[in-house]
Structure formats: C-alpha cells, structure tokens
Amino acid sequence: MDKNEILTDLKKAVLEGDDDLSQELANKALDQGLEPMTIVNQSIIPGIQEAGELWKRNEYFHTDIILCAEAFRLAMEIIEPKLSAGELGASGKVIIGTVAGDMHNLGKIMVNATLRGGGFEVIDLGEDVSQDTFIEKIKEINPDILGLGCYMTTTMLEMREIIKRLEKEGLRNNLKVMIGGVPCTQEFAEEINADVWGKDAFDAVEKAKMILGVK
C-alpha cells in the first residue's frame, strides 16, 4: 500500500469512526516508516477536524463524533508512544474531569478528542472527581487549563465550589478555567468566575486556543 494511500485511508477511518481500521492503519503507517508526527498531522488530526466541519454543517451528529473520537483515541494510542517528548501538546496542557456526583462523560469523551486534535495535551481525570483530586493534580501537573464538565443542574453548582477552592489554594491565577455540559451557560460561567464556557466539543477547542492565545 502506497504511503499516501495509508495516510488518506487512516484519515477516512478516523473521520468515519472505524476504530478497528484506524488502529490497523496506524500500525501499517508506522510499519511503512512514516514519521509519527506526519501520521498525526496529516491523518489523525485532520480526520477529527473534518468531523468538526461536518458537525457544523449538520451532517454529523453526536453518534458520528463519538465514533470518530474513539477511532482517534485508538489511533493516537498507537502513535503517541513513538513521538518524541514535546512533539504533542504544543497548544497547552489541559486537565479535564466531570465533577463530583456526576457520572456523565459523553461530552468529555468528545472534548478530549477535539482538544487533542487541537494540539493540546489532555489529562483526563474521569468522572465523579472530587475537589481534592482536582487540586492535587493541578499542583502536580501545572496545567494551562482546567476543564470542568457536568450534566446535571445539581452537580453544576460544584463548579462554583471548585473555583472557590482554587482561589483559596492560591491556584486560580495560574490557570484558566473552562466549563461545559448541558446545564451550563455563558452567564453561569461569568457568575462563578470561570474564564470561558465551551458550548460543545468543537467550541471548546476554539475557546481553549482563544484563552491561551494559540493560533
């Protein structure tokens, strides 16, 4: 198989959410001697970026994005270990998690993929993440952005408490806070002193770049 063909097919596999094929082609690409960064920049990331364009045009729905995110993740799992330190994450470092009491992760799965597609290094703390865990990891990892997600109107109030805790621990000024999830709004973000609200997974990566001044 021609190297260019592999790159094209891998992009297509990511775009179409074919996780088995994306893994297969990621391996093939490495076997063919393609540079890992080339594979990422010419296939995997463009795949998810094109998914974003289709999303904006109402041709893709969450079903498509979620499969695309999984194909992206699995392809990256194969390529990332081959990258040199610092090749990824040039846009910045993001810690992301669903707040305590909340188990929902659909939005977070998609945001994870789009942020990585946008060149961010993403550390996903999972769901039902306590304040203590967020604080501990922020101190350990020193991210540029803290991403908080929630799905319920009762758990969204926890976001306010997390930000207060950041202020109390003297961490607030050293990072940006992005919130997201169904009950959130721009007004709520301003009210709780978050920096920005991500309307959806694709808006999140644009806003993340905006608040860090990344092109």
Binding site: K56, T63, E70, L106, M152, T153, T154, T155
Partner: protein
C-alpha cells in the same frame, strides 16, 4: 428538592415524601400540573443490578463506569436473570406509592434511554453501527423482558391506562432524525403494541430537538425530528418543544409542520418548555417574552401546555413566579388578539421557607382530602378531561335537574369508571372490578369492553361497521346507547 431543602436520598427513595413536597412546591408556584417525581432514567437499570451513585445534594445517577452490558455475553447473562418486578431495586417504592403516578400515568425509561443506562452511550452507538446483533439484542431485551412486564405490573397495581416514556438520550443532536427513525422508533412501536395487549397506552417522548447552536437551526431536521416524536406518540400529533433553545428558534417552523394536521381538522398538542437555562439566568423580561411568544404563536389553534423542566437547583423563585404569572395572564381564554395590550402583574411572594411555615399544614390537610378522591384508571383520565365541565355555566343550567349515571366497564382492567350527573354536577369515581359487583350497578348507559378496544373506539380507529362487528361478537357491549349520546354531548362542552 433544593427549594424545600430536602435530603436527596430521602427525596428519591420515599415517593410519598417526594409527592408531598411536590404538592407544596406546586401550590407555592401556583402550577397547574404535577411537580417532582422520581429519577425516571435510573429505576429499571438499578432493578437489573446497575450501580447508582446517590449524591448528598443531587439526583441519583447511573455509574457509567460500570455498565451492566459491555458485550453480547453480558446481555446473555442478564437475560437469564429472573427479574423480580415486585421487589427489585426501587420497584417496591413505585408500586407502593401513588406518588409514582404523574397525572395518573406511569413513568418509565424509554427503550433507547434504558439501553444507554445499561451500556453507556458510546458503546451502544458502536453496537448500533457495527454490532447489530448486540444492539438489537439489547433493545429487544429492554422492550420484551423489562419494560413491557414492568409497565404491566404497575397497571395491575395502580390501574393506570397510560404510560409516558422518558427518552432524553434520543434527541437531536445526539442522533440524527433518520437514526432515530431507523433504530429507535421501531422499538417504541414494539413496546406500544405489547402494552396495548393489556390495555395500557404508552407514549415515548423521543426525538426532542435540542440543537445548542442557534446558527445551526435547521427546519428540515426539526421537521424530521417531529416525525420521530409523532411516530413515538402512537401517531398522535403531540409535539414536545422540550430542552431546545425555544426562546431563540423561529416558532414559525413549528407552525409550518403542524399545518398539515390543522388542515385535516386534527387537534395538535404542543408541550412547550421554557429553556431551563433561560429560567435560571433570566432576566424576567426575557422569560415573560418567551411565554408570550409561545402563547401568541400556538395557543389560538393548538392545545398548548407550557412546562418547566430540568429547572436548575439555584433558579431564583422570582423567575418561576414570572413564568407562571405570564402563562396564566396571557394564556387566559379567549386568547387576546394583541397580547401587548394586556397588563401583567407578577406577584411578589414570600420566600418558600416563609410561605411554607404559614401554609404547610393547611395544604397537607387539603392534599389528604384530595387523596380520598383518588380516581384510579380510566376514572382519572376521564376526570382530567371532564372535571372542568362543573365550572361550565351552560352545563350547570342545562343539567340542573338531571339525574343520570354511566358506566365504562373495562373488562380486562382492575378499575372501571362510573360517571354520575346530579343537579348540575358531574362526579367521576372509579369502581374496583375485583371488589365491587360491577354487573349489578344500575346505570342509564354503559359500555363494556377491553381497555384496548375502548381506546380504539373512542380514538376513532374503528369504523361503524367494525363497531357493529365487535358488538355482534360480544366484544363490545353497549347499553342505553341514546343516553350515552347525552354523555358525548356533555364531553363536547
């Protein structure tokens, strides 16, 4: 729960307590419909063995990190498990409390949303697209082995004839309308058919249009999602404008959709939601404008209900008072030609805490009295439709000296309905088919048939010839047909 400072665990495990608080909050806000209820997306999953997280201040939530079904083998294992519909999880809580019935309807988790609860959305979507055997296996299981029997058990206990399925996962943009039509609606219809066999009409609230980005609003996708809604509501043009940004979308797109039904003379029901985030963030003027817009656009030629759902916990009470006042003011019949000419007065109310101290005991006593007038089964449905006739002056005058009674004997149900008209007042009661001797009740007119046939017959789904055949075969028994026509006249008032 938040307003009443109720402990979350108690609120979601004690439905009588939940119902009582809902009654208080409903009266505080002067709402017309039921308030509160249990976490509809969790109960069946929990009964099957799924893990729930009970937060201190939040609604329970499924632990999606530990899905019950990860693969086909898990499904096969679950299918072998004998489900105790009387005792598993919080099923007893639902069976032992009429608080579980919202407006006389049982509430359940619709097939697709239940499947999400069992597998997680990503895995279920992958199965839908890439592992059809697993997807269809799970969906068939939830319909045939979980929901149909669970709805039946509730019907046998409470006598409810209707069930409403919560299906927020099946909405745009989670799925496309085509995906919903191809993969979800067939299972909604399957459940509808199964439940009809034992006399319960189920409707699934599937297909809600929830596009977040207003610039992505697409009337074609909206109309296609309405097709999904109608197909999931038994073919009835009952539309939910639930979680979307309806304060920003063009409402004319909805009217364009309903035009075909209105031209045929079919009544269209719209349940229009005030966006939860608008309700929280306000300002009041924007909330009022939203209500006015709904009423101005729909209320004159649709059956419109305005509802408040997913209300964020810290929503200011003033916002809800404003929404209710606007609904009652602008929505007063006949709807004025120019709503701008109507003056709106939003009541200045005490805090719920202060109001509760003054009113709780009185209201609890009222609710206790009302509970004595509980109408199970068809009686509840008939009362909802006919009860207001007692405020109709024409009825009061025409039937001032009347004395008649009618029986709707649903032969396969626990409860039948007895309607009496006496001295200008209409009374509806239920009759326990097991305890009371229905056959010996003397009435002026009666209909006896199964619940399923009753709904087909009253819903106009049986032709005159069909009805005659049913009567000839003894499946439909009508006595006092002329007097029954009198009842039909009253119903039309």
């Amino acid at each position: 729960m938040y307003l009443a400072e109720a402990p979350a665990k108690k609120f979601f495990t004690d439905l009588d307590y939940n119902f009582e608080l809902g009654g208080l909050v409903g009266r505080y806000y002067n709402l017309d419909g039921p308030v509160g209820g249990h976490d509809a997306y969790d109960v069946e999953v929990e009964a099957l063995g799924g893990k729930l997280i009970y937060g201190e201040n939040s609604m329970p939530t499924i632990d999606f990190r530990q899905p019950l079904i990860k693969n086909y083998e898990d499904l096969e294992k679950l299918k072998k498990k004998k489900i105790d519909f009387q005792n598993a999880g919080r099923f007893p809580m639902i069976l032992n409390s009429t608080g579980s019935m919202v407006g006389g309807n049982c509430i359940f988790c619709s097939p697709f949303s239940l499947a999400v609860g069992l597998m997680g959305f990503p895995k279920l979507i992958r199965a839908m697209k890439r592992e059809p055997k697993l997807y269809h296996g799970v969906m068939s299981f939830v319909v045939d082995d979980v929901l149909a029997p669970w709805i039946r058990v509730q019907n046998e206990k409470h006598g409810n004839l209707m069930g409403i399925g919560a299906d927020a996962w099946a909405s745009v943009p989670n799925l496309s309308p085509k995906e919903m039509m191809d993969f979800i609606v067939p299972y909604n219809i399957r459940l509808e058919k199964k439940c009809k066999e034992f006399g319960v009409m189920v409707m699934n609230v599937t297909g809600d249009y929830c596009e977040e980005r207003v610039e992505k609003f697409d009337p074609k996708i909206l109309h296609d999602s309405f097709d999904v809604e109608v197909a999931s509501m038994g073919g009835n043009p009952a539309l939910f404008l639930a979680m979307g940004r309806w304060h920003e979308y063009p409402l004319e797109a909805v009217r364009n959709y309903t035009e075909k039904y209105r031209k045929e003379g079919k009544g269209v029901t719209i349940t229009a939601g005030i966006n939860a985030r608008l309700l929280r963030d306000g300002p009041v003027e924007k909330i009022v404008d939203n209500v006015k817009r709904f009423i101005d656009t729909f209320a004159r030629d649709h059956s419109l209900t305005i509802f408040l759902s997913n209300v964020p916990a810290d929503t200011p009470s003033e916002h809800i008072h404003a929404a209710v006042a606007a609904t009652h003011t602008y929505g007063k019949f006949p709807i004025a030609d120019n709503l701008e000419e109507i003056e709106l007065n939003i009541p200045k109310k005490k805090s719920f805490k202060e109001w509760r101290i003054e009113n709780e005991s009185i209201i609890k006593a009222q609710m206790k009295e009302e509970a004595k007038e509980e109408r199970c089964g068809l009686a509840g449905l008939l009362w909802q439709q006919m009860g207001k006739v007692n405020q109709n002056r024409k009825f009061q005058e025409e039937y001032a000296d009347a004395k008649m009674s009618f029986l709707y004997n649903l032969t396969d149900q626990r409860y039948s309905a007895l309607i009496t008209i006496e001295n200008g007042t209409l009374i509806v009661k239920h009759v326990d088919n097991e305890k009371d001797n229905v056959k010996n009740i003397e009435v002026d007119g009666s209909i006896a048939c199964t619940a399923s046939l009753f709904f087909d017959f009253t819903g106009g789904k049986i032709s005159k010839v069909g009805m005659l055949l049913k009567m000839l075969t003894g499946k439909l028994k009508v006595k006092g047909a002329k007097k029954m026509q009198e009842l039909a006249k009253i119903m039309a008032l």
